[in-house]
Symmetry: C2
Subunit: 436 residues, 2 copies
């Protein structure tokens, strides 16, 4: 019988792992709660109406349908039987493995304020993205109807908490929506009067990037009308706005739309896996893996992607998509080498660079020794994202959509959808209580 | 002050009316509960994963953003003050009008069985479509996991109630999904073993079409593996299947996925309008309008589209998209002619023909004196739908998507999304209780 590999999670780590095992003598089962692979780096474009969910998601079964040694299992893993080499599914099924690859990634964290999750949605799932899209569009709709100037102002205030790549991209897109996309759409308000605030706790935006690029990003955002607040912590979020603390001074910003792009924490399966194997986790729940990505004492259990904590040259390997892809390929290679009893080198992350986009024309990029910003960086961003999106079909659709939106300033997917019983209910204060 | 026109509803009727008033000396307000115009004839393609919601919906503000005499109001109308020439909004606002155009369309009806709505979702909104998409895909997922042959069979049984154009198109698409799209996606089941039933109460499919075309449609559906039951009524729907009565015999079909494409009823605003004006409604709640589409005794109130009941040459004008478009244009023309004190002829529906598609290659069409089916009819269908879809952007996207899907048999938007707390819950019997 072929070696049984079970991969939990069909994100970048899991998908690259299974695809790299295409020609291996293994039987792979990919388990995911969702039936699609999601291209998370473009999720903010769904949240801001530029792309449709279908354009950044590919059904896992479709992606893997020609890979004869792979099968997909839709379901949720609730526990591990490490001694018995099984994962336990919520429906009671048990899935046996010879090698287990855990790649369940991360979710957002609210720094000990779980009650903020309903007030300030984060951006990890398709549903998060359409929820944010609905909230942003409804805020403009409420402003159009509002006659009280202060209330109108609060409806036109958008606060993005967290100045990492997601926060920067989200704030940039909001700037563009208010300045360009919606320019002619309203009759009572001028959408360009929207105030977009980007709040970052550390001393500068995009902390992992070189300082020069942080400043370029900030400049580009200010050009799009975004008000940046660095070195500022959000201490309170409620239905009327946020309280921001910078140094000793506290400011109150009134806003009906607060978006969360601040903290991440590892998927809860990491903690469970740690309990079952005795491995340590870091402060956000990532599993501290051995240099070959296995759990110390359990070579048959690998952890990859955002769920893995690994240091390289004294620094943690960053939790980004390229890391997950490289770890996925490494895991596949490791399994093959073990089967052939070949020696295995430790995993080494190769930093190909980082690029974050700000609006429709600008980006900041660090590729090897090169740091650059502006139009060229944006073209680089464009190229990389089209290159890595899964599926030829999505690639063409997105290329068309971007080209079209670029020339027209449009964002055609700005639909208010979801569970709103009626627009009026959604337009009223009830919408702020976090209904999904 | 310009003549104030208020249009309720941004469907085909409302949208064509406001656009036809582009150069008129009027101030138009379009009120809708949703922020987008939906191209309903392609909704079944969203329900079956071929298109994304964003591709068949256009934000109303965007469609109308260059029309200076038009504004969009997002909200729900709850009542009419006919004497005072106002519509009353749910949020308490009052919108005054000189001419009112009511174009709120229709919804599905369950023939006195409202409890069926959760068991057998209909197809009128974007949310309906994604709900159906999720149910259909989850049924295949459950079948893949199921070991009991009878349960597996029930999961692979899909019942479409109603053999009009929507039912025929839905059943054809399901046939194709099971035979082509999902062909290589599963490992335990063969999706082609799915049983798709199409149940129609009258003596043949597509009752409004010529008999020859009904038979062509039935033949095409059978070729896609659909089992048609004509002259058969559904008398019972529950979580385990449906009971079908044909003549004196009752049959039970076990199925976990029942879709409703049978009855329509007018939007509830029709009834309210009838109460406030004393006009009559027909058996499904449509407003019986005068030959100029106004309410008898209230020339300033027009009713158009699916909400209007009008007879022409002794037969009711059909409730289809072209009727609504023609009525919308007529309403705009009428308002202009009244302003110029010109004579107005009664509305006349011009039947341009009908075309319904069955799968990726076949359709039935009746254009003027010509009745045809097969590939040519399908090309006609393709051309007409691309011609009428609102927005150049959507047109290109859909053209690409269809071309791509045609050659690859793919349907890239087959995402399981929504409120499912977890896949396991969704995969279990709970999913059948109609959670949204």
């Amino acid at each position: 019988m072929a070696h049984r590999v079970v991969i939990i999670g069909g994100g970048f780590g899991g998908l690259y792992a299974v695809q790299a095992m295409k020609r291996a003598d293994v039987e792979v089962t990919v388990i995911d709660r969702r039936n699609f692979h999601l291209f998370q780096p473009l999720l903010y474009q769904v949240a801001t109406g530029a792309l449709s969910p279908g354009e950044i998601a590919s059904p896992l079964r479709y992606v893997l349908n020609r890979q004869k040694n792979a099968r997909v299992l839709l379901g949720e893993v609730v526990d591990f039987n490490i001694a018995g080499h099984e994962v336990l599914m919520k429906d009671g099924d048990r899935v046996p493995y010879d090698t287990l690859v855990v790649a369940t990634g991360s979710t957002h964290a609210y720094f000990g304020h779980p009650e903020w999750s309903k007030l300030a949605p984060g951006l990890k799932t398709i549903e998060d993205a359409t929820e944010i899209r609905t909230r942003v569009l409804l805020a403009f709709e409420r402003a159009e109807k509002e006659t009280d100037p202060e209330e109108r102002r609060a409806n036109l205030a958008f606060i993005v908490v967290g100045g990492g790549p997601t926060g920067v991209e989200l704030a940039g897109a909001l700037g563009e929506i208010s300045r360009d996309t919606l320019r002619k759409d309203f009759r009572s308000i001028n959408p360009a009067e929207a105030n977009i605030f980007l709040i970052e706790g550390s001393g500068r935006l995009l902390p992992p990037y070189p300082e020069k690029l942080s400043h370029a990003a900030e400049k580009a955002l200010i050009g799009l009308g975004v008000q940046t607040r660095v070195g500022a912590m959000v201490t309170q979020i409620d239905a009327e706005g946020v309280t921001v603390k910078a140094g000793d001074s506290e400011t109150r910003i009134k806003s009906k739309t607060v978006l969360w792009a601040a903290g991440v924490q590892a998927s809860p399966l990491g903690k469970l896996l740690a309990e079952r194997t005795g491995v340590a986790t870091d402060r956000v729940g990532r599993v501290k893996v051995a240099p070959d990505l296995s759990i110390p004492g359990h070579p048959e259990v690998l952890v990859i992607g955002d769920l893995a904590y690994l240091e390289q040259d004294g620094k943690p390997v960053p939790g980004v998509a390229p890391t997950a892809m490289q770890m996925g390929r490494y895991a596949a290679d490791l399994i093959g080498k073990r089967q052939r009893a070949e020696a295995v080198k430790p995993f080494r992350y190769w930093n190909k660079g980082s690029v974050a986009t700000i609006g429709r024309n600008r980006a900041v990029a660090e590729i090897g020794p090169f740091q650059f910003s502006g139009h060229l960086a944006w073209l680089t961003w464009l190229f990389i994202h089209l290159l890595y999106i899964v599926g030829f079909e999505n690639r063409i659709q997105i290329a068309f959509q971007w080209a079209y939106d670029y020339f027209t300033f449009n964002r055609g997917a700005r639909l208010i959808t979801g569970e709103w019983a009626s627009a009026d209910e959604a337009l009223g204060p009830a919408s702020l209580s976090g209904r999904r």
